[in-house]
């Protein structure tokens, strides 16, 4: 009997602890919390935008969740509670707009692809044309935006450098990662000879060297941002989106290597 009661108390205690982990959004009157889901490649830029926004709005706390856009799309589709979604390509955003999860979206930044190699560059890759020299190449999966852009870039390369070149490069792929930061990490650790990432990921790490992709082969990655339909604070979310698209937001994005959306 005594044992049972002890168990019951322990169980209730545990439940209370878990209940305490519940999203505190809306519970506090003074501070509101804004949840932003953003593509992995936006990690550094959005962290800075986050602190800038918080400085301008001291009563707002911004929480960020970075992952591959396809993972965030899945989480939002499964009912994850967020206010804003910033994707690295239009495909995942459109899918969410079509299913009514996102109200509408607007473009806010552009990016390009680049090749990264370890600092000691063991395969001596100096240009895009040297890519077949890599013993091990890491790219994104077919679903993550960086992986889709990479395949698109391979098609451009096929037209200019031939089938054989693209086949050789594809044969060097040893792993496909689910977000661009994981792709870059394989080169930063020195485990891969080369990886294909966004130019912004290339310049933001001092552990990798950048090899440019010729502009005739490169692709233009466009980043849309949108409000989540179910947000409880549409005005605040709107303010954040406007901040990202303001001159200050653009300045931060450009400092992190992004290109402005308006050409």
């Amino acid at each position: 009997m005594g044992m049972t009661r002890t168990y019951a108390i322990l169980l209730m205690g545990a439940l209370l602890v878990f209940a305490g982990c519940e999203d505190p959004r809306g519970s506090g009157e003074q501070t509101s919390r804004l949840t932003v889901y953003a593509a992995s490649s936006l990690t550094d830029a959005f962290r800075e935008i986050e602190s800038g926004f918080e400085a301008a709005h001291p009563d707002v706390e911004v929480a960020t969740n970075f992952a591959g856009s396809q993972v965030l799309r899945l989480q939002l589709k499964q009912g994850a509670s967020a206010d804003i979604f910033a994707s690295a390509n239009l495909q995942h955003m459109t899918a969410l707009v079509d299913s009514g999860i996102i109200v509408s979206s607007e473009m806010f930044a552009r990016n390009e692809l680049a090749v990264v190699v370890p600092e000691d560059n063991p395969a001596r890759i100096k240009s895009f044309q040297d890519l077949p020299r890599a013993d091990s190449l890491v790219i994104g999966t077919d679903d993550v935006p960086v992986g889709r852009y990479t395949r698109q870039m391979f098609e451009h390369a096929r037209a200019q450098l031939g089938d054989e070149f693209v086949q050789m490069v594809r044969d060097r792929v040893v792993s496909k990662e689910s977000n661009v930061r994981l792709v870059r990490a394989k080169v930063a650790m020195g485990e891969a000879d080369a990886a294909i990432v966004y130019r912004t990921d290339a310049v933001s790490s001092d552990r990798v060297k950048t090899v440019d992709v010729p502009s005739s082969i490169n692709v233009s990655a466009r980043y849309p941002i949108g409000l989540i339909t179910a947000t409880e604070q549409p005005e605040l979310a709107r303010t954040f989106v406007d901040y990202v698209r303001s001159a200050r937001g653009a300045e931060v994005l450009q400092r992190h290597g992004f290109l402005s959306e308006a050409p």
Partner: protein, 264 residues
């Protein structure tokens, strides 16, 4: 009293059972067919079977003598080795993956040497097997050592006095007695190897047909086609359920067939 205990235990039992039930209840037949036809499915199944069977073979061949030694040695070194063998059970698989990179990676302890003889382990099927062996071996070795400990020393002495050699006594006396324990250990080790995810993802990467085992294919498919992820999950869950049922009833079935066969 009994009912009150059940009241407290029920949430736990439900939370253990429901994920397995949910897997088999939610998808439609069309979903299952679509999932099984997903391009990730067949290569992952084949790779998982190949690597997990190879891993199990390596574990049994190297683990059986180790278990025998652990069961029979009373030296302090044996106790230390037993602890070391069990380390991967308490270390998170992701940590094992990082550790394996630090050993076999290009900049790892053995990396430069391996590279000099033309071997590159990370991102290869060999890396998958190494990860599986590390995480699964403890389960086999521990179960086998426990099984060998139940072999009566005197039986071995009698076998020797009846003219059996050392290895002969092991093969004809100790092994048959310990066999059910060894099989149970091997089954659990195989299931653990088949389900290996964290260490494999970090150490071996994610490449269809090369390093993308079923659990990693599930993780990848979840980002594109949930149906494929569900079908692969169903298959792995079914394998686990079958294994558990077989282990539960194998001893009885074993005894039954032996009794049927009469004194041999």
């Amino acid at each position: 009293m009994m009912s009150r205990t059940a009241y407290l235990a029920a949430p736990l039992v439900m939370v253990l059972l429901l994920p397995v039930v949910g897997l088999f209840v939610s998808p439609s037949a069309a979903d299952v067919v679509a999932g099984a036809n997903h391009p990730l499915f067949a290569p992952a199944l084949w790779l998982s079977l190949r690597t997990s069977v190879l891993s199990l073979g390596l574990i049994v061949v190297m683990g059986t003598p180790l278990a025998w030694w652990l069961a029979n040695s009373s030296s302090p070194s044996a106790r230390v080795v037993e602890l070391v063998v069990n380390l991967p059970i308490v270390i998170p698989p992701a940590v094992i993956g990082v550790g394996l990179l630090q050993v076999f990676g290009r900049r790892g302890l053995l990396g430069p040497w391996l590279e000099s003889v033309g071997l590159s382990v990370p991102f290869s099927s060999a890396a998958v097997v190494i990860a599986q062996v590390v995480v699964a071996a403890p389960f086999f070795v521990q179960a086998s050592a426990n099984a060998f400990r139940k072999v009566d020393d005197e039986l071995m002495v009698v076998a020797r006095t009846l003219g059996e050699s050392g290895p002969g006594a092991f093969l004809r006396v100790a092994l048959p007695i310990a066999l059910p324990g060894l099989i149970a250990g091997a089954s659990i080790a195989w299931a653990r190897g088949l389900g290996e995810f964290g260490a494999t993802l970090l150490f071996a990467g994610n490449m269809t047909g090369e390093t993308q085992t079923m659990p990693i294919a599930i993780y990848t498919a979840l980002e594109s086609d949930v149906r494929a992820a569900v079908v692969m999950s169903m298959l792995l869950a079914a394998v686990g359920v079958l294994l558990l049922v077989a282990l539960r009833f194998a001893p009885a079935a074993w005894k039954w067939t032996r009794d049927l066969g009469g004194p041999s």
